[in-house]
């Protein structure tokens, strides 16, 4: 079985305004040593999915149903129902986590060395000296410059990229089987981003750690992931090996996302013969708010292919919820018409 198998996960927030299902029936699986990219726009539920894995969703958020099976030596355990003390051993021990904001994810009153050593002390019964030695080793592993000195420095003395390296050192200190990286490079400069991604890929190869990489950056996914899951409005809409997905996206949303990437080589010719850069392609409309998800396929109000459906040829886009179908081996799509979309139309009413 895969290392981590999430099925039908529902995580909802019970706010005064009503129940908000941020994650609505997500199923994912990650094999040992592989990288799965979870892609989607802000607010699509990808971070909540990540937080749900370690049950870090705080009130008023609740995991309502589904299972998160983590395979281990004693057989798989369900993280959704695992008692808190055992769960604490999984957190940091078997699953490490890297957060988006390296500037605020480190405790300002402790030295870098103390924080990495704490991660070690929490899971391995060893002396303070041994933990410190391990911390130094980890800082070296994540290629932090001058690790001996950094060990006794405070987070505010480090740059964003350096802090993210420290976060990675903390997450990997106990050699977890899986690292959940929630937008690890979003807050960093592009050059630092590349370094951090290289580092993650390198560590994955050396330590055999599986990675769940959450991002909204398709470029990052293309470079690092074995498999990709695209999320929209709380659901997985498409899941495929990275290469397949980029070569032939099947869901209209994925098609839109890929089309929206700027192409540095594209040039358009104007009527007078001069060439200009073409306008960026966009997906019209806004991500729907979880309180007011449209019925049926949640993407249909923004979908260029949904226009005119239902035709005589199939179900209504605003009717039943489309199933996640395996259209090609390993390639899953949640769209009634995937594979036979036809030509896109201009999207009309975009009020939702």
């Amino acid at each position: 079985m895969p290392l981590l198998d999430i099925s039908n996960l529902v995580t909802a927030f019970h706010t005064p305004a009503g129940r908000v299902p941020a994650v609505d029936g997500v199923s994912l699986s990650i094999d040992r040593g592989k990288t799965l990219g979870l892609v989607g726009e802000s607010g699509c539920g990808k971070s909540v999915t990540a937080m749900s894995i370690l049950r870090l969703v705080s009130a008023p958020g609740v995991i309502e149903s589904g299972s998160i099976l983590l395979d281990g030596p004693g057989g798989p355990v369900d993280l959704v129902s695992l008692p808190e003390p055992q769960l604490r051993k999984v957190r940091g021990g078997r699953i490490g986590m890297i957060f988006q904001e390296p500037m605020t994810s480190l405790n300002p009153v402790f030295t870098v060395g103390d924080q990495v050593a704490e991660a070690v002390l929490l899971h391995q019964g060893c002396s303070r000296e041994a933990a410190r030695a391990r911390a130094l080793e980890m800082l070296r592993l994540v290629r932090l410059a001058d690790p001996e000195r950094r060990l006794d420095e405070y987070p505010h003395q480090l740059s964003g990229g350096m802090r993210q390296r420290v976060m990675i050192a903390m997450a990997l200190a106990c050699e977890p089987d899986l690292v959940v990286a929630d937008e690890p490079t979003t807050a960093l400069d592009v050059t630092i981003q590349a370094q951090i991604l290289d580092l993650l890929a390198d560590l994955r190869r050396r330590l055999g750690t599986a990675i769940l990489l959450i991002t909204h950056d398709l470029g990052v996914v293309a470079e690092t992931c074995d498999e990709v899951a695209v999320m929209y409005a709380g659901r997985i809409v498409e899941r495929a090996p990275a290469e397949k997905l980029f070569r032939r996206p099947l869901h209209p949303y994925t098609i839109g996302l890929l089309a929206a990437r700027p192409d540095p080589d594209a040039m358009a010719t104007r009527a007078d013969g001069t060439t200009v850069r073409p306008r960026l392609t966009t997906i019209p409309g806004m991500v729907p708010s979880p309180q007011h998800f449209p019925p049926g396929c949640r993407f249909h109000p923004r979908c260029g292919y949904a226009h005119g459906r239902p035709g005589p040829d199939g179900p209504a886009c605003d009717g039943g919820v489309p199933e996640l179908r395996e259209l090609e081996p390993g390639h899953f799509v949640r769209c009634h018409y995937a594979g036979s979309l036809g030509e896109p139309h201009a999207v009309g009413a975009l009020s939702t």
């Binding site: 370690l54 705080s58 009130a59 957060f99 480190l106 300002p108 030295t111 929490l122 003395q157």
Partner: protein, 354 residues
């Protein structure tokens, strides 16, 4: 390259830049020194003396009667050392306190060679022998104040120690766990907040047979924690959602570790400020009680109880001026320290530093 300072190092650097706050800190340090060395500064018992071949330190009797060597009671010194030492052992010698006056009794005539008896009542105005005057019973005011410093400091530290401990525990538990626990903690805080401290103290002191200064401190501490609890709760509410706390949870830390290691150190700075102000107000409360006559019973001396002596005799202005000034300066010092701390640890200023 800037050396590692840490949060408190940075705060101290900024605190040091405020001359008034530094002066206030120096003043409190001075009070601590005075309180510790009180028996050596003012008293009638030798700091060290040689008597019948052995060395004694009778001045320790000011801290606790039992520390006064038994031999002096046996030889019937009755608290007067200079004459007795000379008469009963001509070979004796003694190192005397800086200032030969007793905080608990009037110094009799000729107790110290060539010195007249302490004047009493309104004759006891400030003079060279009694710089701050004497009270109705002829007890030297300066000696009383020197020995009363201990009370003033203890009241602040002990009562705010109690209040700080209770307040931080209640606030931390409520703020961290939330839900019905928070509800309960908040309601208890509000109930205690409604209790009028002064009335409670008066009532309890009336019930207790032999009230001491410790009872007063305990009551001030046990009623004065509400503000600290509320502030702690707020800090915990703010910090428990912070990313480094989530990161600590993701690393597998349990509630105790998160509360003690991750949230508390980060919330200590803002909590320390009301504790400092609380020390000032505890001193004021104690002085007020003593002034009303509910202070520690004699012989323990408190600044407020000296003020009490002036109530019946308004002509003795020195009984108001000197202890009143001491109380004022001490309260002011603590307030200045609190303000300095606030400025030094303000997160907005911390950001501006970069």
């Amino acid at each position: 390259m800037e050396r590692s300072h840490g949060f408190w190092g940075e705060a101290w650097r900024r605190y040091r830049r405020r001359p008034l706050a530094m002066a206030a800190l120096a003043f409190v340090a001075f009070l601590v020194i005075v309180a510790t060395l009180a028996p050596a500064i003012a008293g009638t018992k030798p700091v060290l003396c040689r008597y019948k071949g052995r060395i004694y330190a009778p001045c320790l009797g000011y801290f606790d009667r039992r520390l006064e060597p038994a031999i002096f009671t046996k030889d019937k010194f009755r608290g007067t050392y200079p004459k007795n030492l000379a008469e009963k052992d001509p070979a004796s010698w003694a190192i005397w306190p800086l200032f030969f006056q007793d905080p608990y009794r009037s110094v009799r005539g000729d107790e110290w060679p060539g010195r007249p008896e302490n004047p009493a009542m309104d004759q006891g105005r400030p003079s060279w022998t009694n710089p701050f005057g004497t009270d109705q019973a002829g007890v030297d005011v300066l000696a009383k104040m020197v020995h009363g410093t201990t009370v003033a400091l203890l009241v602040g530290f002990v009562s705010m120690g109690i209040a700080g401990t209770i307040g931080i525990i209640v606030g931390a538990i409520g703020g961290y766990f939330g839900g019905w626990i928070d509800m309960l903690a908040s309601r208890i805080t509000e109930i205690v907040m409604c209790v009028p401290t002064l009335v409670l103290i008066l009532a309890i002191l009336a019930i207790i047979e032999k009230p001491t200064i410790w009872h007063t401190m305990a009551i001030i501490g046990m009623t004065g924690w509400t503000g600290i609890a509320r502030l702690t709760r707020g800090e915990f509410l703010r910090l428990k959602g912070s990313e480094y706390v989530t990161a600590a949870r993701a690393a597998g830390a349990g509630p105790a570790r998160i509360i003690l290691r991750h949230i508390l150190p980060n919330s200590l700075a803002p909590i320390l400020v009301p504790i400092t102000f609380g020390i000032a107000s505890a001193i004021l409360t104690e002085s007020g009680l003593s002034f009303l006559g509910f202070g520690p019973p004699p012989p323990s001396a408190s600044w407020g109880s000296i003020l009490n002596g002036a109530r019946s005799n308004l002509g003795m202005w020195w009984l108001v001026l000197f202890p009143g000034t001491a109380i004022f300066l001490t309260v002011l010092a603590y307030n200045l320290i609190g303000e300095g701390l606030q400025e030094a640890t303000d997160p907005r200023l911390r950001e501006a530093r970069k």
